[in-house]
Structure formats: C-alpha cells, structure tokens
C-alpha cells in the first residue's frame, strides 16, 4: 500500500506539473494585447505597452518565464492579480473564496448524498411502484429542464413564498445560503438517486441475492447488508473527488446567487486574462482532481476488501 501511495503521489505531482506547464505555455501563445484592458489599449502608446510588458517580464521567452514561475512557486509565491483585484497577491484573492464554496458545497453534498441514496434505495426496493415513478419523474425533470430555469423557479418560489433572501449575503449567511444549497442539491440528488437505483437493481438481479433469499435472509438484510454495500462501491469511488471539488464551487449557482466563491473565479480570470489567477486556480483544481481520484481508489478498497490496488503474486 505504501509503495502504491508513493507511486501514485509521484504520478500525481507529474500530472499537476504537466497540466500547469501546458496551461502556462498556452497562455503565453496568446497575443500580448490581451494583457491590457480595452481602455488601456486606447490610451497607451505602443511604446508604453511595450515598456509595461517588459517591466513585468512578459516579453521574455516563454521558457524563461516558465522557469521564473516555478522558481516563485517553490517559494510559494503565486504572484499578484493584474485584473481581478489589481496588485493584490493571488493567495489573498483565492483565500477568502474557497471556504465559502466549500461550505456550501459540503452541505449540499451531504444533503444530496443522504437524500439521493435513501431515495434510490427506496426506488429500487419498490421498483415499478408509484414511488419509483415519482422518483424517476423527478430525475427526468431535473435533467431535462435547463438548469437556469430550475434556478429561476427556486428563486421565485423561495423569495416570494418563503421570503428567503434572493442572493447570498455575508451578513446573513444561514438564511441566504438556503436557496443556493437547494439549487446545488437538486441536480446532484437526482444523480445519486439515479445511480443508486440502477446499481441496486443490477445487484438485485444477481444470483447471490437470489441465493441469499432462498436461504431465508430477510428482505431488509438482503437490501442493506448485501445489495446496498455492493451497489455503493462505484458511488464511493467518486465521493472524495466530489467532496474536494466542492472547493471549486459551482459556476452557475454562484453566479446566479452572487455567492463570493471560487466558481466564477476561473472564468472571470480567463476572460480578463489575469494569468496569475488562472495559473493558481489551475494548480489548485489539478491537485484536487488527482487527489480526489487517489482517495476514491483508497476508499473503494476499504469498502470492498476484494479490491486490491497492487497486484498480488500468483494472481491471474
């Protein structure tokens, strides 16, 4: 296990560095005009633009810039923002945001995981009954209706019927988080319902379940001790990944409810060509991604002892 962990860690570091290097070099392929706002392009002369780029080291060869970037990175210096918050260190810009996203994301993940799995189990248990059809209708509705329309419905109903705040507020976190959390949970609950039901139904049709039933095990025992445990394995693999990615926030929900989280940061930074922010966010997302996959693998082995991460001798 230790050997596997070390190997995966090394692979993860290489993957992250590869992603960051590619993104860094791709950003440098764009014309340097993109470093300036429309206003600056209007007002600055060619010479002034050249001077500014030179002063920021942006006219050096991309590989010199890359080397300098890694040198700074080794000193935990991710640079300063050019556009999102002019002159402010990137760590400071990101710092306050990921906690907000993570808090909302974890709450909604917990809600959707709980509701999704419970509803999925009930749907599987009462397959083709009324409750199953209702659950399926909900899943189809959530997936078929465009997300923004669903969010608008939640907003209108929540704000008008329940007098909830229409947007997130740092001065009223509890109440103002309700609508964003509901929106975040809606889609993922449907996802967990769908996959739990599907895996459970698959398991229910397997021979070992028929045998267990023939041996006289109670339906309850069969469902929870055997079916659910086996059906949960594929879901569990993505659980750490989902939990870590809550830090990344949700672009749509955060934009819709003005949540000051990470969700909109990457797109804002790309559209404003704030390269320091883009690089830092890419490092963060890539690291979270590989860590999530790794933890998912580990979790699977804990839930299902039959799964091994390293090959044993004499196995085929």
């Amino acid at each position: 296990m230790l050997l596997y962990t070390m190997k995966r860690l090394l692979q993860s570091i290489v993957t992250v560095l590869l992603v960051v290097t590619i993104v860094f070099l791709l950003l440098r392929l764009l014309p340097t005009d993109y470093y300036f706002t429309e206003e600056q392009l209007i007002k600055l002369t060619d010479q002034q633009r050249h001077d500014q780029l030179a002063a920021a080291g942006l006219l050096d060869s991309p590989f010199v810039q890359l080397f300098r970037f890694y040198e700074d990175l080794a000193n935990l210096d991710l640079g300063t923002s050019r556009r999102i918050q002019h002159g402010v260190p990137v760590t400071q810009v990101i710092g306050g945001k990921f906690l907000v996203s993570m808090r909302l994301g974890l709450i909604s993940l917990a809600i959707s995981l709980f509701l999704g799995v419970v509803m999925g189990v009930l749907q599987a248990r009462y397959k083709d009954k009324f409750g199953d059809h209702v659950g399926t209708a909900y899943t189809v509705f959530v997936n078929a209706v465009p997300t923004l329309i669903t969010y608008s419905l939640v907003l209108v109903l929540g704000a008008r019927l329940f007098k909830l705040p229409s947007m997130y507020s740092v001065r009223n976190v509890a109440r103002s988080s309700i609508l964003p959390v509901v929106c975040l949970s809606l889609t993922s609950t449907a996802g967990y319902m769908l996959w739990t039901r599907r895996y459970m139904v698959d398991e229910l049709n397997k021979d070992y379940i028929k045998l267990a039933r023939l041996k006289g095990l109670s339906s309850r025992k069969v469902m929870y001790r055997h079916v659910l445990r086996n059906a949960f394995v594929p879901l569990a693999q993505y659980l750490p990944y989902s939990m870590l990615l809550t830090i990344g926030g949700s672009l749509l929900v955060e934009r819709f409810f003005s949540v000051p989280g990470m969700g909109t940061l990457l797109t804002d930074a790309i559209s404003r060509y704030d390269t320091s922010i883009v690089q830092a966010v890419v490092i963060l997302y890539a690291s979270l991604g590989v860590l999530g996959v790794f933890l998912g693998d580990v979790l699977m082995t804990l839930i299902d002892p039959r799964i091994r991460l390293i090959s044993k001798g004499n196995t085929r």
């Binding site: 014309p31 206003e39 392009l41 007002k43 999102i84 918050q85 945001k97 000051p260």
Partner: protein, 630 residues
C-alpha cells in the same frame, strides 16, 4: 405676470407632490450592479471605469463637485479663481477636513500637499501605468515632461520618487497647507471643471508613506483613507459592498443615507426579481421586463414606470475613411464611397432612425433623438442658452416627440441619386458593401444590428448599400479596430471636463490627441482631397474657437459653428442619447447631473420614497426641475 404664473405653477406642482413629500424616505439605500461591473481597483487615481468611479466618488472628495443642474460647486476647495484669463488657477482649500480609515478613525488632515502627491502618482509612469495622465499632461506645465522622465527611470527609482523633482518640473504648487496653484500651458478658461475629475484628486502623503508604492497599487477598502461622505465598511467581491455615512464628513448640510448597499447580481432579471420582493430600492428595466409591465395595465408596477434622465454620453455613427478587407487590402469601394459628401448626406437625411431608437427606448424612442455631437448640459452661454441649442439653431433642427425631424426622404433620395452618379463615374459599383461588427455572444446587440440593417434597406434600398452584420469574439479593439475591418461604428463619448473642445477635439485632423480620428475614423490615413479639405476646414474652426480664451460666449459660439460644420458635412452622424426605464424610489432630478466628470453617482441629497415613485410623480419632478432651472 410671467413670474406670478411661474410661481403659481411651481406652487401647484409642489402641492401635487405633497403626497410624495410625506412619504417615508429611504434611510438605508439598497441598489445593485451586475457582476460584470465589479470593481478591480480601489485606487481612484488609477481607475478609469464608471464601475469603480461610481463607488469611489462617494469615498473621496476632489477639489470641486457639481449640483443637480450641472453647476460647479465647492468641494475640498471653498473658492477658486484665475486672475490671468485661465493661465494660473488658485484653489483655496477648506480647513479641518479629515482623512479617516474605513472605520472612520481620524488619520490626518487634508492639506494642499496631498494634491501634489495625487498628481505625482498620476504622472509617474511606473506608479499609475499611464492611467488618467492624458488631461493633466495636455494642460499643465511640465506634466508631460515629468511623465517622460519617470518612464526612463528604472522601476525602483521611479517608485521611490518623492515630490522634489515633481515640484521642480510640474506646474502645481502648494503655497501653504490650504492654497493650491496650478499653472497651465496656455490660458484654459475651463480648467476649473477638471477639478471634479479624478486625475486631480488627492491622496494623503502619510498613507503613501504607510503603504509604499506597491501597497498603494494594491490598496484595498480596509487600507484606503477616505475624506468623502461615505466610507466602505464591507466589501465582498462579486457579492456586496456597503458604504456607511462618514461621521467626520466636512459638509454637515448635505443629506446622506445611513448606509448604501450595492448588491452584485448576475443579471437585470435577478435585480428585477429582488425589486419585486423589496430587496432593492431601484431597478433599471431590460426590454422584456419593460414591455411586460408596459403592456399590462393591471401589472402592479404599470403606474410606476419612470423614464430615467439621459446619461452623459452622446452616441454617434463614426464613419471609417480607411477601411480594409479581411485580407488586409484597402476596401476601395467603401473608401471611395464614404469620401463622397453626397453619399454621406444620403445617410444623414435619408435615414429614419426611429425604429433603431426604439431599441434604446422602447416606449418613447424619439426622446432619445440626438442631432448634435456634443451632449446637452455641458456648457451654456451667459444668457443661459445651452451650447447644444446654439448648434441646433445653426443646423436648423429641433427635436420633436412626434417625428424624426432630420429625416427628409426627398433630400435623401436626391443625395442618393447624386452619389450614385458621382461614384459610378469613379468606377464604383453598387450596392456598396458595409461591414458592421457586434459581439457574437451579445444577442441584444445582434438584434439591434438587425433593426439597423432593416432601416438601411427601408430607407436607402438594397440597390444602394448592403449592411453586413459581422461578429467579433471578445475584443472590438483587437479583432476589428486594429485591422480596420469595420465600415462604421456606433459609439458614445462622455466628457471629462466642461468645454466643447473635449468633444470636438477628438475628431480633428492631423492631431495625435484626436482620439476618434486616430482610433476609429482613420481620417489621417484618407487620401481623398475633398474630404481632407473638409476635415482641415473643420479643424481650423475648432482651433480658432479654442484660441478664444477671454470671452466664453464667443468661444462657445465659435465651437458651435465648428460643430455645425462637422454635422452638416456628415463627417460624423449624431445618433442618440441613452434613456432607460426604471422602477425606483429615488427622484433622479435631485441627483447630481453633470455632463462631465465623475460626480453623478454621489449618494448625496437624494430625495427618496420607500414606496417607490409613480409615473405621475416623475412627470411632476421633471416639470418642477425645468421651472426651477428657468
């Protein structure tokens, strides 16, 4: 008799307003901004965007401000004067004004030297990256030279500069703590109006010493020092900012809110939803929401639709005189056609833009009519006549709420015929292809372009011109303007200071600081001699007007002649002013309303009503305002 009548009318209107006067005013104002307009800097000396200046103008005071009629009023300067026709200007600062931190703790007194520190920052290329330096460098002695000096210095040396070299080179002097003297390059009778613009704003020398140059570049709401009517007590990016009344503010006579909260919303639709649930005190309506309310008399807000006042921007069709094709070669057909005066005049007279104006203001399109290049309310002659009215008299047009008065189908057709004959003789074939660019992701702009295209078809005919709607992805400047691909642009100019030169100077021929000529029309690259002669004539008229510094009336009238010349030769075609519709608890007529500068969004002396104003209230506000103006 006239006076008595005016008095009675005002009295009657005041009585009719009595209902609203007794309505409960808003004490904690909640407004919104879309997230695309989030602030990027808190340094008012660096900012060049309304999204920041609309907030920061409430936090920091400059030398002067404006009132709700656009008049200059004292700010940090109690009085100001020039004794030599505008060459040197003396500003006498008020005593006892405090710099405070965001929690209103006193930090220092505002003194004349703070304005020196402010201007040094603006003119130091390494500190302010050339932002806001164009006007002081054009107007003040030694300003351009100091900018060039800092440009040559190594970064560290430039950032470490104090005031010694600056005072030696630049025409600004702190005579004592409360007297500030500017020396202009030439007499500039309008220089005082620049006192309301952020390029001349102060920054405390003590704050600079505390933060250092790098710290000042990254100044944040909680490290900034304030001297304005509000301090920013909360800032959460893309969420909300809260401005709180500054208890130490020098002007105790003004009315302010206890707090102003600006909520950052995803779209106007969300803002409208929030207005309906009482979470916002105002909302500007998009076309869909406006039409829904307007078409339904039973709608709860039908009687609360209020037409906003025009923004300070004047929108024009800017024609391109050196257009290129996508392969980089000159677009000979277009360049030849647009240099022909009859071709331009066929647009000027032959186009009825009413439907296009309907895209700006769906209810009252003709209220957005704009027949002049300069925006109204910028300056007036001593008899109170607006500068724009002088221009309108010269071109013989008056706005009407019934018809688009510039439109003259017969004249347009005659010029079309003339242009076709003249241009055919030069080998131009018809129809002329014209390329107009809009952002591909902007559906509203695409729809508007479609209306414009239809207007060309209806008014001038497809045998004459064909408008091709083309799209750019992200940047008009990089993707369209730099390669000179557009045949024309529609863009608006808002003045930075109070003089017609700030408008007309942008269109002159052969001048580096003529923004529109250099960046859009590319007239300096045109080759048609008749066109160049007209531009030179226009430029000579502008120069002649600008040289009149001892008689403002004569100056403005001379500028009006120049502007009329430009319009009558259709060198630029005036198009519209922006007037939107809103639901609001704020009387716009009580707000600062200046055609230049950064003062318009100061949350001071606003007359408000928690219940929101009705359409009738607003009609009365407008009448009272106009009466009081007289």
């Amino acid at each position: 008799m006239k006076r008595i009548f005016a008095l009675l009318l005002t009295l009657a209107m005041m009585l009719s307003l009595a209902g609203t006067a007794f309505a409960e005013p808003i004490t904690d104002f909640v407004t919104y901004q879309t997230t695309a307009n989030e602030m990027e800097t808190f340094n008012i000396l660096y900012s060049q965007y309304a999204k920041e200046l609309d907030v920061l103008t409430n936090c920091i005071d400059g030398l002067l401000s404006n009132d709700n009629y656009g008049n200059l009023v004292p700010g940090l300067a109690e009085t100001w004067e020039t004794l030599d026709g505008g060459l040197t200007w003396t500003f006498n600062l008020r005593k006892g004004v405090k710099w405070v931190d965001y929690q209103a703790n006193e930090k220092a007194e505002v003194v004349a030297e703070d304005f020196l520190w402010g201007l040094e920052w603006v003119l130091n290329e390494k500190k302010n990256l050339a932002a806001n330096m164009s006007m002081p460098s054009e107007m003040l002695v030694g300003a351009q030279e100091y900018f060039d000096y800092t440009k040559e210095l190594p970064e560290a040396d430039a950032l470490a500069l104090g005031l010694e070299k600056f005072q030696e080179m630049v025409g600004i002097k702190a005579v004592d703590d409360y007297t500030l003297v500017f020396t202009c390059k030439a007499p500039m009778p309008y220089f005082a109006t620049l006192g309301s613009y952020n390029c001349l704003y102060p920054v405390s020398g003590k704050l600079l010493a505390e933060l250092g140059a790098e710290g000042m570049k990254a100044v944040f709401y909680d490290t900034l020092w304030y001297n304005g009517p509000y301090t920013m007590t909360t800032y959460v990016q893309n969420n909300e900012k809260v401005l709180t009344k500054n208890p130490t503010y020098w002007n105790k006579d003004i009315q302010t809110f206890n707090t102003v909260t600006v909520k950052m919303v995803d779209s106007v639709d969300v803002a409208f939803q929030m207005y309906q649930t009482g979470e916002l005190d105002n909302v500007t309506l998009n076309e869909a929401n406006l039409q829904t309310i307007y078409r339904s008399p039973s709608h709860e807000f039908h009687n609360h639709l209020n037409e906003a006042r025009p923004t300070k921007y004047s929108y024009q069709i800017h024609l391109v005189y050196d257009k290129k094709l996508e392969d980089g070669s000159p677009d000979v057909a277009w360049n030849t056609a647009i240099a022909n005066e009859a071709f331009r005049l066929s647009w000027y007279y032959g186009m009825d833009f009413t439907n296009y104006l309907g895209r700006v203001n769906a209810i009252n399109p003709l209220n957005c009519t704009n027949y002049c290049y300069t925006a109204a309310n910028l300056v007036a002659t001593s008899d109170g006549k607006d500068y724009v009215q002088h221009v309108m008299d010269l071109i013989g047009l008056q706005p009407s709420s019934e018809t688009y008065t510039r439109f003259d189908a017969e004249k347009g057709a005659a010029y079309k015929q003339q242009a076709m004959e003249e241009l055919s003789a030069k080998g131009v074939t018809f129809p002329i292809q014209m390329d107009y660019y809009v952002q591909g992701s902007n559906q509203s702009a695409l729809d508007t372009a479609q209306v414009l295209k239809q207007t060309f078809i209806d008014c001038l005919g497809e045998d004459y011109v064909v408008m091709n709607i083309k799209t750019f992805v992200n940047s008009l400047i990089k993707e369209v303007r730099a390669p000179q691909l557009a045949s024309f642009y529609i863009n608006g100019w808002g003045a930075d200071y109070g003089d017609p030169i700030n408008y007309l100077g942008q269109e002159t021929y052969g001048k580096d600081n003529a923004f529109y000529s250099r960046a859009y029309s590319k007239i300096d690259l045109a080759t048609d001699e008749d066109l160049i002669a007209q531009y030179k004539e226009f430029t000579a008229l502008v120069d002649a007007a600008a040289a009149i510094n001892d008689d403002l009336d004569a100056r403005y009238k001379a500028f009006a002649v120049a502007e009329a010349y430009m319009i009558e030769h259709a060198l630029v075609i005036p198009l519209y002013v922006n007037i939107s519709w809103q639901l609001t608890g704020v009387n716009d007529y009580s707000k600062i309303f200046a055609a230049y500068g950064i003062q318009n969004n100061r949350y001071i002396n606003w007359e408000t009503n928690k219940q929101g104003y009705t359409t009738e209230d607003y009609v009365n506000f407008a009448k009272v305002y106009e009466e009081n103006r007289k």
